[in-house]
Amino acid sequence: MEENGKHSGSPQIIEGNKLDNEVVYAAIAERVRADSTGKGQLTSLELIKPLVYDPGKIQSYLGEMMGNEGYKDIKLITAANGGTHLYSEKVFTRRDAERLTLDEEVRSRIINQVREDSSKKESLTPVSKLGALIPGAELDKIDNHLALMSGDERYKDIHIITNRKGARYLYSETFLTCNYAELLARAEANDPVAIIADTVRDDSRIYPRPTNLDMFKAPVFKIDFDEMGRYTSELTKSPEYKDIKLIKASTGAIYLYSDLYFNPDLAKATVEWEEVGRYENP
């Protein structure tokens, strides 16, 4: 479990797997108070469950715990969406806590949307569209939510990515790899020449290999392939992309590479391997 605030780590294990109740209560209280004081946030029940031997019995644990004099400040609150949270009454009033559950709800909605977009639609969730999820949204509040999400270990699969137009997107790494999300974000910039150039530079740097033009037919790039001739022409003329070179294989297939990483001889040899050699040596 990740370190967070002043959380001190797992309680002692005594007698096999059974945890000493006192130790558990203390750990829970420490976490809740740290979140309330340090982060000014509620603590989700989901984050408490790992501390308890039998998470199914968490409610009764808490019931016992809160009957204890030393933990009277630890309170439970249930949000409208059913999520349960804890807070310290020393920091928050009930009113405060209710307000905070609304925030939790908002973040929960965002997370669900992002995970659904990533898994079912294999697409990014634009930050600019998050307003629709948040009634009466204010842009600076969204950034606040995003900041709090990034520190929450429940949401550690959620990442934010910014493309060259400055547009921000969220995705879940459970369903989309970072590299793939990067490609999606580039496509969102709606600048085919830039997408081509960035991808070619990546391929030349990482693998390294020149990029077959046909690769840009892949749906992730969202490129109108009929216009490819125009894009490559722009590309090779542009000073910003002067490292991008075009090369034709003996089969007529066209490739691009970045001469920052590839010299022409190696590019040619690699392209010939891809087009001819690979099939002569199956």
Partner: protein
């Protein structure tokens, strides 16, 4: 009793008709099985001076303790004998997949040793422990398909048949043994032919014991499967896909729109992520690799392959256009088994015509039992045509009678003519091509020179094809060709190179396996030789022989890289040891098995020395063709953009290679010291007594 093994090896003497059983482990334990067992038989029983078609030559069909079990991929069988295509008829191994090898195990046999010569065409029927030599009068002269059907009609549709076609019967040197429609063991078809042996039909109802507890075994198998990639061990998809960090240049061609277009109904394999084990057999749409995207998608019915392999690689297609040429519209094979067809033509055919010629080629070759020697024949043909060598060497009448117009039209009718002429050894042409590229060097001196000098002929030494060499991993690719007596057919090095991972990752993994990241170069950007590369080459050799003995498929293992990001794309180099120990109950570590592999490889080396009667392997056998040092003409070694080797560097490479094997650096031959360490003292003694052992 060890698991995996059946305990009995079958011996059939076709001269006397005697059929006996031997204790596998008592005789062959040190050599595991498969190719190792075969080498041991040759070593013990076939004297120097024997020729491939002499009755005393043995033909071994070798399977190993893992063959037929659920250890992926245990479907292959090694065929071991003296090799007719070899100029010196040196010992060599063929291999075929399919289901015949496992069936032999289920019948209760660890391997078959065939010796002698029957006095009339025969076939061997094996139904569990009932083994009979049967009259093959009705089968002889038939193609492999009909012979197979006839045998199945006899002993059952659930039997598996290894058979030769007319090519093997006619002692065409370039002929094979095939089973299950498209699985070919090259080299030894005519050895069977010379023994009057048409086929071996096997039906097995028995069981193979797995020593490990069944639940633990299941867990072992299921832990291993996610580490496998696609065909030829690509570990990333060929297009950007949401589940993958990397992509490109692999045979993981599954994607939306990758249809098996002629399946009924047509079926889109779609995205096949690494963690979906119920789609791993769909990752490689081999039709796309073998025929290009459009044609592959249009004509493929399914992708097939061998027993027990979850990765499929035989492209099965339906092309109604074929029926007019008198062959079935349904064709199947893989890689060069498909692509030799268009290889006869120049310029190279393209598009649908190319596909048609591919299918015709495999339809004919797989029935005639003709072996393409990795396309060498086609390349030789085109070269000879270009250089006017047919006019020079063929009798005028014969030359005029060749249907050159059909050749120019790139007509399938020319293909039919060519395969038939070779299978029946008609004329000088038929005889020359039946004997194959190596013997052609003795016939036509220009070809000897061309094989050595012309890059386009892609021949390595003595006329044998390269498969694979310097184009994959520079010096490593060169080294893995040296010791072999037929095309190297090593994919260990080329698969690792072609995994699709970024170079940085390959270097990292390479460092762990071979001692230094410098063991791995970028393709076509070869750097000077180092010890890591030698280790890479040595391991590639050892694992090839080990896999051919266990048997496991050398196209899907060793698992040095995997598609699993959480493992940082590492595979499991311990896998062979885990499976061997689990199945047999004989506990071996990776190091143990590598030693076994070295022993097997070394016995093969000793065999080569015996049959070549040569002590100086380094200079007389382990040759490197001229073109490796001269092509491309205008480039210098160690510059970017090619795989041209440097002579001094390759000498250094040989030094390091032999050193790491424990061989004598001067001769490339095993030393007494290392032979004795490997428990091969008798081998050392014999080599010494025949003046072949120098150290």
């Amino acid at each position: 009793m060890a698991g995996g093994y059946t305990g009995k090896t079958l011996r059939v003497d076709l001269t006397t008709g005697k059929i006996t059983a031997e204790d596998t482990l008592a005789k062959y334990k040190d050599y595991i099985g498969g190719a190792g067992l075969g080498y041991k038989v040759l070593w013990d029983e076939v004297p120097a001076g024997t020729k491939a078609w002499d009755p005393v030559n043995r033909l071994i069909f070798g399977v190993g303790p893992l063959s037929g079990t659920g250890a992926p991929c245990g479907g292959r069988v090694s065929t071991i004998s003296l090799s007719p295509p070899s100029q010196f008829e040196l010992p060599a191994v063929g291999h075929m997949g399919g289901h015949w090898g496992p069936e032999l195990k289920f019948a209760g046999w660890d391997s078959i040793i065939i010796q002698g010569k029957a006095n009339a065409p025969c076939w061997i029927s094996i139904q569990d422990d009932k083994v009979e030599i049967r009259d093959a009068k009705k089968l002889w002269g038939q193609g492999i398909f009909q012979a197979t059907a006839a045998i199945c009609a006899d002993i059952g549709n659930d039997c598996h048949v290894a058979a030769i076609g007319q090519a093997g019967e006619n002692l065409v040197r370039l002929s094979n043994v095939m089973n299950d429609r498209s699985h070919s063991a090259g080299l030894h078809g005519s050895v069977m032919g010379s023994k009057n042996l048409k086929a071996i039909g096997v039906k097995g109802t028995g069981a193979l014991k797995i020593s490990m507890d069944k639940n633990a075994w299941r867990d072992l198998v299921n832990a291993y499967l996610p580490l496998m990639g696609c065909n030829n061990q690509g570990v990333v998809p060929s297009t950007p896909q949401s589940w993958a960090e990397f992509y490109g240049s692999t045979r993981w061609t599954a994607q939306k729109g990758a249809f098996w277009g002629r399946a009924t109904p047509a079926f889109d394999v779609g995205i096949c992520p690494a963690d979906d084990l119920n789609k791993m057999g769909l990752r490689t749409h081999k039709g796309i690799q073998d025929h290009g995207f459009e044609l592959g998608v249009k004509y493929t019915t399914r992708i097939g392959g061998c027993f027990g392999c979850p990765i499929r690689c035989h492209t099965a297609m339906d092309n109604p256009n074929l029926e007019q040429y008198g062959v079935s519209r349904f064709q199947t094979n893989t890689c060069n088994g498909i692509s030799h067809g268009p290889g006869w033509y120049d310029p190279a055919p393209t598009g649908e015509k190319q596909m048609l010629l591919k299918q015709i080629g495999s339809a004919l070759a797989d029935d005639y039992g003709w072996w393409s020697d990795y396309g060498q024949s086609g390349r030789d043909f085109v070269y000879m045509k270009k250089k006017g060598l047919f006019e020079k060497y063929l009798p005028a009448k014969e030359y005029a009678a060749i249907p050159w117009k059909l050749w120019e039209a790139q007509s399938p009718d020319f293909s039919k003519w060519v395969y038939k002429t070779i299978t029946y050894k008609e004329g000088e042409f038929g005889q020359a091509f039946a004997d194959g590229p190596e013997w052609m060097e003795t016939r036509y001196p220009e070809m000897k020179e061309a094989h050595l000098k012309e890059y386009e002929l892609q021949s390595w030494k003595f006329g044998m094809a390269k498969h694979h060499s310097t184009e994959a991993s520079g010096q490593v690719g060169a080294l893995i060709n040296l010791m072999r007596n037929a095309h190297a057919q090593n994919h260990t090095h080329s698969n690792f190179q072609g995994s699709g991972l970024p170079l940085a990752l390959k270097k990292e993994i390479g460092a762990e396996l071979f001692g230094t990241p410098d063991a791995v170069d970028n393709n076509n950007d070869v750097k000077p030789m180092n010890a890591g590369k030698a280790r890479f080459a040595v391991l590639s050799m050892i694992y090839q022989d080990l896999h051919d003995s266990l048997t496991l498929c050398n196209w899907t293992q060793p698992i040095w890289a995997s598609p699993v990001k959480e493992r940082k794309y590492r595979g499991d180099p311990e896998a062979e040891a885990k499976f061997f120990s689990a199945v047999t109950g004989i506990n071996k570590t990776r190091g143990d098995l590598e030693l076994d592999g070295l022993r097997i490889l070394t016995l093969f080396r000793a065999l080569t020395m015996r049959f070549m009667n040569e002590a100086d392997m380094r200079n007389k056998h382990d040759l490197i063709p001229e073109w490796a040092f001269t092509y491309p003409k205008d480039k210098e070694p160690f510059t970017s953009g090619h795989a041209k080797m440097d002579r001094a560097d390759m000498e250094k490479a040989k030094d390091m290679f032999y050193e790491q094997l424990g061989y004598d650096v001067k001769t490339g031959a095993p030393t007494r010291a290392m032979l004795e360490k490997l428990n091969m003292k008798s081998v050392a003694d014999e080599l010494e007594s025949t003046k072949l052992l120098t150290v």
